[in-house]
């Protein structure tokens, strides 16, 4: 089976965000970069699919040179090869549709039966790219998946998380599946895996090599525009509820929530 995992490198979840002097974007110096945690579930599920049905796992990622680190991590986990799209025209783009067009173009040139992706990236939190890629490829999408069972090598049954429950969906391949926590426990890269990853094929392409026009899918072609960014307003220092006993504190807290905050 031909299995693809879309993967994005993002700032570590511990990152304290700082805004640049112009208020247009964040300061990216000193950020520790990691594989998007939701993409980890996708890579893991891709590997499990290969273990079940055989085949090849290909990682596809867009990003600057530093993204190679996250790609090598995925290869060290057990993926077979990777395509890395790196082009100056993509730096600073805010456009999920543009990125989806790039990913779809890559996917037109490699065979696939199933595509795994994260449910969203934890940096821009847009949750658009997976659905847009599926649309551009004309295949079904199964999003926010936290459970998956193969009925046979061409049919998958998933648990899709919805508010207060889940949808159980059956779908035949090809399909794109966006993954979230609960689906699996991503494996760690082993030391032999890390050594092997260095020799695995990693194909770096720019937009021209994909036959794409930087005026249409790069920063210049963005369909959305970030006008400004700001940090959330700081919460003002709260009140510590004083009291001699826990009972007294509980009583004061309930009164404050009722009379001052008016929330209960």
């Amino acid at each position: 089976m031909e299995i693809v995992a879309l993967m994005k490198q993002v700032p570590d979840t511990e990152t304290q965000i700082k805004v640049n002097a112009q208020g247009t974007w964040i300061v990216e110096d000193d950020i520790k970069w990691i594989m998007n945690p939701y993409c980890e579930f996708g890579v893991e599920e891709a590997l499990r699919t290969k273990e079940k049905h055989g085949g090849t796992v290909t990682i596809v990622s867009i990003g600057p040179a530093r993204a190679v680190e996250a790609i090598r991590t995925a290869l060290a986990m057990g993926a077979d090869k990777a395509v890395h799209v790196d082009d100056a025209a993509l730096v600073g783009t805010t456009d999920s549709l543009g990125k989806a067009r790039v990913l779809a173009k890559v996917l037109e040139s490699i065979p696939f039966d199933v595509i795994f992706a994260g449910k969203q990236a934890i940096d821009d939190d847009m949750a658009q790219t997976g659905a847009a890629v599926a649309e551009l490829l004309g295949i079904p999408q199964l999003t926010f998946v936290n459970g998956l069972e193969w009925l046979d090598a061409r049919t998958v049954k998933v648990n899709r998380q919805v508010e207060g429950g889940s949808q159980i969906i059956q779908c035949s391949l090809p399909a794109l599946i966006t993954c979230q926590k609960g689906l699996n426990e991503p494996r760690y890269a082993s030391l032999p895996g890390i050594m092997k990853a260095k020799k695995k094929p990693l194909d770096t392409k720019n937009l021209a090599a994909l036959g794409l026009d930087p005026a249409q899918v790069g920063k210049a072609g963005d369909t959305t525009e970030i006008l400004k960014v700001e940090l959330p307003p700081a919460r003002k220092a709260g009140k510590i509820v004083e009291g001699e006993t826990p009972e007294e504190k509980a009583s004061k807290l309930a009164a404050l929530l009722r009379e001052e905050a008016k929330v209960i």
């Binding site: 659905a131 969906i169 006008l227 509980a250």
Partner: protein, 329 residues
Amino acid sequence: MAQGVLVVVEQRNGAIRKVSWEVLSEGKRLADQLGQEMAAVLVGGDGISSHAEALGQWGAKKVFVAEHSELGQYRTNPYTRVVVDVAKMMEPRIILMGASSTGKDLAPRVAARLGVGMLSDCVAFELQDGTLVGRRPMYAGKLYAYVACKAIPQIATARPNVLSKMEPDPSAKAEVVKVSVQLEDSDLIAKVLELKEEASGRPDLTEAEIIVSGGRGMKGPENYAMLETLADLLGGTVGASRAAVDAGWRPQSDQVGQTGKVVTPNLYIACGISGSIQHLAGMGTSKVIVAINKDPDAPIFQKADYGVVDDLFKVVPPLIEEVKKLKAE
């Protein structure tokens, strides 16, 4: 020329979901500012058209209704086809949906089919020279961005539980337009076998107005019963930190934080949660935050409006009694 606002109304099991009232209210405000009209599209199974006229009370001048036996449950492809068909028929300037599990699945698919960008999960909207600008959290709320849509239609999803609802006008009526649904085989590849509802009956975290959340300090799964009691008294729901979920004390769907659910309740009560940066990112936009923790140095106290420095096992039971008394008044 593109005109007006189109709101995609969401239903489950034939009942219209709360987020849709919020989005209709916002859609009406935006339409009024543009000096244009709002329309709604309602997609569902047999009988869904009975809701159409009532949407007029929420400001929709026209309601496009797509009723079809294959549309009872939300499914990506058939719903995309219907919404895109209506968008092509109406040529709206703006399309709005809720950033629910449905809207997050549907909106980017619709946007990609129409070849336009979109704004995800906005918490506020404004118009700048007729262009839709959304205020949206990034990095799970560690940053806010003001983002504009460059192409028409401008598509956005709105986070549930944030936008204010208008008062419906019982005398207002909508013109109902039936949409003929023509699905192709390719639309029906993915089949919904079942919609499993969780048994608790409590609201989902993303929609809850009150959340009582427990972390590592809860010490074990059995102790969540008291948080459930408190949440039920308050009409709220129960959340958990990543530590509690990873320990297997609570299901994954309860996790609040950067890699769990991002929540915006009126009241968030954090019990035995120290407040990692990832957790704070997920609940930092709650209107009122209460922290109960015996460690006075826990970072959660820097975000909490009300802090109780004490053993949660000694504070929560009397708090339950106090709330019972207040509710009895």
